[in-house]
Symmetry: C2
Subunit: 600 residues, 2 copies
């Protein structure tokens, strides 16, 4: 599967401008000089692209690009767990491959400020030697704000960049930035010029010719980049199964404006705190419709503050309602804007609707807008929330009933446009589930990319490029760097093993029962009645018969144990199996049985 | 909130035909004669409608209609649990109100054979004295088949009915049946003629003028029923938030036929075993496209057998592929039809895709059709399944990409038609979440039903009708009969308490730790080191420091216990709180702490 790339253009160096606004921060000299790995001969002249997260999921995005002994990283995101991972807070990329190559890592580039692209930073940066980071102003604001919450995170070396920046990284890389549209300001595609050709990593993007409070997609520059030659395009596949074009955010604004005209009472809006384009539009609409905005939810307040401070959200501060003013504002002059449109229990919307909010409660005449699409898995919580709202005489409007949602990701026609403009030699769909990557790959083929030059890879799978005379060849190797889930649970990072998770799932389904047998160390006789503690299995007070029978069984096992059961472990195993089978027969449930043998 | 109903028509008795094909089975004389409740004066002349399940959820449908001392029941369904109820198999209606009124219950009427209408029968019938049951032929086949799986279920007294049946129940009720369309044959709306007027309970329905293998909606009879006078319409609200008309099943057939023409390899279809209309269509299409069908999944095979036996599924038996023939059938001549379109782990589709199926494995060139809409909560499993299919080189087609799904429930325009035809005096939306009921209520108001005559009730809330001179008045009372969840878990019915569930959730999130302290009964000194057992919390081998510190803490607590801690319970509480706090501080997790104190 070796593919050949005839470099169509001359040296890329010519295109790298020297008007770098961000000067390269000095790398700290690393204490572990000995760890600096010598260039092994098999890495000579090779460019390796490794997507550490984001090829088998939506989330935990992270990509490493390695040329000989130099590495740069794009994004460092988290992913939220699914139902199979009870108790887990979130999942971050596995950086095992990078951890002993700290000195090779020249820099980290962040495409934009969403958690699936920045969420792992506080955990991962210390592990890889805290290299310099480059990101837009808005992104930097959000990353710094979040870092303050982590005592152990340390200081990040952040340099802000914009579309005119050009960063020389080590001896081999030069990095530039292309502004793209998404649902938050300051989103950049990353252009990595390497000795073998240019890699374009789109980050999250959509094509929006009339975005809200953001510059429109720069089609001309995309075309120019394409003309200058793109070796590899790595492109956002999140919406690759949706036909058509993504709606422009300004179109959504028009729909919402019509809606606002008709609403008489309070308007309560739940959205993502990170949807800053939507939030800007709501401030514009508030001004237009003579309403003021009361912000709710920690992340909402924090994001609006950051974005307003640095000039990315533009509104007259008098639009904001203070706590003191609140009681005097008529219902038809207020918008309450908060988090929780996914039905999250601890967010503003849930609290308000359930009567747990300290200031607000819902009332008849209110209109609640769910201004974000439903993330798979949250449907039931949202149904419950809608029930509770309607019960209190308020109205619900959500995006199925009136499309007040424009997604942040390119749909099929937009994706085709990106491919057409970039004209890459090689193509790699990223940032989605496998079947979405596959759908994106099919689009690329339709756009005329050679099927053999399209790589649908798995997390960690190494895509290798090398020079061959005047050409470049690409190979999706069978080498896989580690990408197992690194789970964050409370203060623990990566310490929850599959065994711990299996136990949680088991106890969650059928509970557990502790069986305590006290045994005379000399005679081997059981002393008294075995103690039983049941949790999540059956309510002991109402199941005295089963409990009593289990006790008798344990006594019998201890009494009748043969020579074969010579030690405590064997006795425990016998109790575990016997009691487990007995309880399953009685109840058709399989609680975890925990035998405790005490010798006195 | 008393509403008045001027009876527009003369006595309903006139309309009750006597051509009952089903004779009324003899009621067994009940042993508990003493339990027969004397008619209390406050029930005199009153008609009470109580929906025991299905007003706050989609599922566990059950309605009781009571006139003085006579009760009839409509449906007896189950509901599947949500994420908050780990380990629970399903939820059935609460029948506390009925259990001491066994002799009053004259009969049970089942609208159709889906689990949310029949699933509670094996559990509930014994509790309410096993009264006679009435249902269509198809429904009876499914109920009987399921009953065989329950040893404890006993024999049901089932009478089959059709649209010509008229059943006299006790002294006050006469029941008739109106054929409606849905996604399974033999669906009936139930017409209950009472001394105060006629109640129409639609069951699940859609309006389909060209259904597959079923008679079309009988609009004429609906109009006639409306003309004769409907006091109360209780109508299916499952799709009340969807605008427009529901698609006809035959339209879907056309779309699928176009699709089949293009497919070259094997066609693998996942659907619900209960979607018999869809299954009929697939047999028709198989014949048309020169393919044969191989059935997979226990419930699929069983349902097709039942339906074919009684003539509700019509196909040439030679279309069915036997195990022996299987190897000789070319890929372009076979359809594999099975269960599991919701991504259920144990169903055919999952097994095949994951390589766990004993006969089939997926291969490149296969086309997999998901022919059912996604039930909220299953999105992630389905995404995973699609990933696995695409990985193996097969194609996925689901209803979002090509609408091969027609829902079984009336949409807004269909619901309006039902209300127009029935012209009820009173209206009660049923069979959905509250916000859907509310949406349906708004439609009814648009259709000209007096707002005061529309009742959006909660589960168990009693809707009471009484005669007033020539009129009937209705009152949605504040009386609520019990409707708390009755959870089925293994063999246990209703024995899983909220405490057991809370414990399961707690252990599922952060696991648990058992702390065992052995104490000298005489001196009160701790003997040896406390034992710790951790499950689902931290992996002990990798957290020796925390474990050791916890041990030290327990020792300290025992040693330093004051006179205040005079008994074991207080000592246990102290250990629980202290260790809990310590572990939270160390890990930010809250495992369940189970202290065990053993005195020797």
């Amino acid at each position: 599967m070796i593919k050949t790339y005839k470099s169509q253009k001359t040296s890329f160096n010519r295109q790298v401008s020297n008007n770098s606004k961000a000067s390269l921060p000095q790398r700290n000299s690393n204490k572990n000089k000995t760890k600096y790995s010598a260039l092994s001969s098999d890495k000579k002249g090779k460019l390796r692209v490794m997507v550490l997260g984001g090829l088998e999921e939506v989330g935990r995005n992270m990509t490493a690009i390695e040329y000989e002994n130099e590495i740069i990283i794009i994004d460092m995101g988290l992913m939220f767990p699914d139902d199979n991972m009870p108790g887990i807070d979130f999942i971050i990329p596995n950086t095992t491959y990078l951890e002993d190559k700290k000195d090779n890592i020249k820099g980290v580039f962040i495409t934009h400020g969403h958690y699936d692209h920045i969420g792992a930073i506080p955990y991962t940066m210390p592990k890889i030697g805290n290299p310099p980071m480059f990101m837009g102003k808005m992104t930097a604001g959000l990353v710094r704000r979040r870092q303050q919450e982590f005592k152990s995170g340390g200081n990040l070396k952040i340099k802000e960049i914009d579309e005119n920046s050009s960063i020389k990284m080590g001896r081999h890389f030069t990095v530039e930035f292309l502004r793209v549209n998404h649902s938050i300001p300051d989103c950049f595609a990353i252009l990595v010029h390497t000795p073998l050709g240019t890699i374009v990593h789109t980050g999250d993007f959509k094509i929006d010719f009339s975005p809200v409070n953001d510059k429109p997609a720069n089609i001309n520059r995309m075309a120019r980049i394409g003309y200058q030659g793109v070796m590899l395009l790595m492109s956002d596949s999140t919406d690759a199964t949706s036909p058509g074009y993504q709606l422009s955010e300004s179109k959504i604004g028009e729909e919402m404006s019509k809606l606002f005209e008709k609403i008489e009472g309070r308007i309560i809006i739940g959205t993502f705190a990170s949807q800053l384009a939507r939030i800007q539009k709501l401030f514009d609409l508030a001004a237009k419709h003579n309403r003021r905005i009361y912000l709710q939810g920690r992340s909402m307040i924090s994001n609006v503050e950051v974005a307003h401070e640095i000039g990315y959200l533009k509104f007259n501060p008098r639009l904001l309602v203070s706590d003191g003013e609140l009681p005097n504002i008529p219902d038809n002059q207020i918008i309450i804007l908060g988090t929780g449109a996914q039905g999250e229990t601890n967010a503003f919307l849930s609290k308000m609707v359930n009567g747990d909010h300290k200031i607000f409660s819902l009332k008849a005449g209110d209109t609640v807008l769910f201004s974000s699409s439903v993330i798979p898995g949250n449907e039931r919580s949202i149904q419950h929330l809608r029930d509770m709202i309607v019960r209190q005489g308020a109205k619900v409007i959500n995006y199925r009933m009136l499309d007040i949602h424009a997604g942040g990701h390119a749909k099929q026609e937009d994706l085709k446009l990106m491919i057409r403009l970039m004209q890459p030699k090689f193509f790699m769909p990223i940032e989605a589930h496998h079947f979405m990557l596959q759908a994106h790959a099919e689009l690329a083929e339709e756009m005329g990319i050679d099927k053999n030059n399209i790589f649908v890879a798995d997390n960690g799978q190494v895509l290798e490029f090398r020079k061959t005379a005047n050409d470049v060849s690409a190979l999706l190797t069978k080498e896989k760097v580690p990408t197992d889930y690194v789970m964050v649970d409370g203060l623990g990072v990566g310490d929850v093993s599959s065994i711990v998770l299996r136990d949680r799932r088991m106890m969650s389904a059928d509970g557990m029962i502790v069986v305590i047998a006290t045994i005379d160390a000399k005679t081997g006789d059981i002393i008294g009645n075995p103690d039983l503690i049941s949790r999540g299995f059956i309510y002991m007070k109402e199941n005295k018969e089963i409990i009593e029978k289990t006790r008798m069984r344990v006594k019998k096992i201890v009494r009748e144990r043969t020579v074969a059961i010579s030690n405590d472990d064997e006795l425990k195993n016998k109790i575990r199996n016997d009691v487990g089978q007995f309880l399953f027969k009685q109840t058709k449930r399989r609680p975890m049985v925990l035998p405790v043998v005490i010798k006195v």
